[in-house]
């Protein structure tokens, strides 16, 4: 008997103690009579033990001094030059960023906010625009849209052109998106947008999750006039309709 994706998800959640008690009990009843299911659980348990053993000593090791020194209070670190990383070249991604621009530009055209709220144009994403217009940023909370997407405004900042901008995340069934929209006279319009998860089957190995991950950060670096608003400043700007 072949196990289904759902079977593996149940076993995985059971292993992680993330199943509600009633469902766990039903699964245990199946495990008692379905040997393929029980064997799969045993395999997953062995995998879990092996993974945990491989990394068990890491947490006990001392943090390298060069790293913990970075977090000493500012007065102590102000005169400390950062240590070079062991492999400086390995962490240079400027060239990589230049190579993904074409790919990310294609994504931008596939899903667009366009100008939305007020005077939304046909095809504009008014649900997202409504969230950007009226909901505060959050480090934890998702807002559910009527069409099934989940949205989280992350930050609000003033752009160098004087317009307000917001960084946001969208989780959709087709993939996840990370973007920045700015509010002009015609409403909210996307200024940067990247896929943070490849659409389609995630069984395929596609390191596209890496694709253009920094495009949004680069946009903010280039266009933010100041540090992001704090919660009270943002609430005030939202109440003032971003004027």
């Amino acid at each position: 008997m072949n196990l289904t994706e759902q079977d593996y998800e149940l076993l995985s959640r059971y292993l992680d103690q993330e199943l509600p008690a009633s469902i766990a009990k039903q699964l245990e009843q199946r495990l008692a009579v379905e040997s393929p299911l029980a064997e799969a659980l045993a395999d997953l348990r062995s995998l879990q033990v092996r993974m945990q053993n491989a990394y068990k000593d890491i947490g006990d090791q001392a943090i390298p001094a060069r790293i913990s020194a970075l977090l000493r209070p500012q007065a102590e670190t102000a005169l400390i030059l950062p240590f070079p990383r062991r492999r400086a070249k390995a962490w240079s991604f400027a060239l990589a960023a230049s190579l993904v621009v074409a790919a990310s530009a294609t994504l931008v055209t596939q899903w667009r906010l366009d100008s939305a709220l007020p005077g939304a144009v046909p095809g504009a994403d008014t649900q997202l625009a409504t969230v950007l217009e009226s909901s505060p940023s959050s480090a934890t909370d998702w807002l559910a849209l009527d069409d099934g997407r989940n949205v989280r405004p992350l930050l609000s900042f003033r752009g160098v052109d004087g317009n307000w901008c917001r960084e946001y995340l969208i989780a959709d069934t087709d993939g996840n998106w990370h973007g920045v929209a700015c509010r002009g006279n015609q409403g909210w319009a996307n200024r940067a947008l990247t896929a943070t998860q490849p659409a389609g089957s995630s069984d395929e190995y596609r390191p596209a999750g890496a694709m253009a991950a920094d495009e949004v950060a680069d946009f903010i670096d280039r266009n933010a006039a100041d540090i992001p608003l704090d919660a009270s400043q943002e609430a005030s700007v939202i109440a003032g309709k971003w004027q």
């Binding site: 990383r85 962490w91 480090a139 490849p198």
Partner: protein, 165 residues
């Protein structure tokens, strides 16, 4: 810029964050480089006053790791840009049994998509709950469930990670 409280909170998270970094990169040296890159990014970019420090740092770490994957891909395409130092094999760096096992598990984890590896690492190695992992990776809990299940299935069926023999 981080407040002193944020710095203290981040300092308290370094042990767990380091374990996360090493479990993503597969060896201690690269993991420490990733940890340093993470801390430097957090210090450079700052974080909102109301942000959960640990979750924020894990997110920054995740993004730094994804950038490294991208850079690694470029280095494979343009090997002339890679310094000789980067050709050290895991076996040369990691001779002890424990480190060999670390390398073996890491090699298997290399075979699953990055999104699945991130979710599995947070839960199976770092002991995060699904809700915590979802918060760190900015995805719904249901996505975490499916990613972890698919990752485990692949590792068991295709990567020979059923047991340590």
């Amino acid at each position: 810029m981080l407040s002193d409280l944020q710095r203290e909170a981040l300092l308290a998270e370094l042990g767990g964050l380091r374990k996360f970094c090493i479990s993503l990169t597969g060896n201690v040296a690269d993991g420490d480089d990733l940890l340093q890159a993470t801390i430097e990014r957090v210090l450079e970019k700052g974080m909102p006053a109301d942000a959960h420090v640990a979750k924020w740092a894990y997110r920054v770490c995740k993004n730094a790791w994804i950038d490294e994957i991208r850079a690694r891909d470029v280095r494979q395409k343009y090997p002339q840009l890679v310094s000789s130092e980067e050709h050290n094999s895991p076996s040369a760096e990691q001779s002890a049994d424990g480190l060999q096992e670390l390398a073996a598990v890491s090699a298997a984890l290399d075979e699953i998509p990055p999104e699945q590896r991130l979710a599995l690492t947070l839960v199976a190695i770092d002991g995060k709950t699904y809700a915590e992992a979802a918060s760190i990776l900015d995805v719904p809990v249901g996505t975490i469930m499916s990613r972890i299940a698919r990752a485990r299935r692949h590792l068991v069926e295709h990567c020979g990670l059923r047991n340590a023999d």
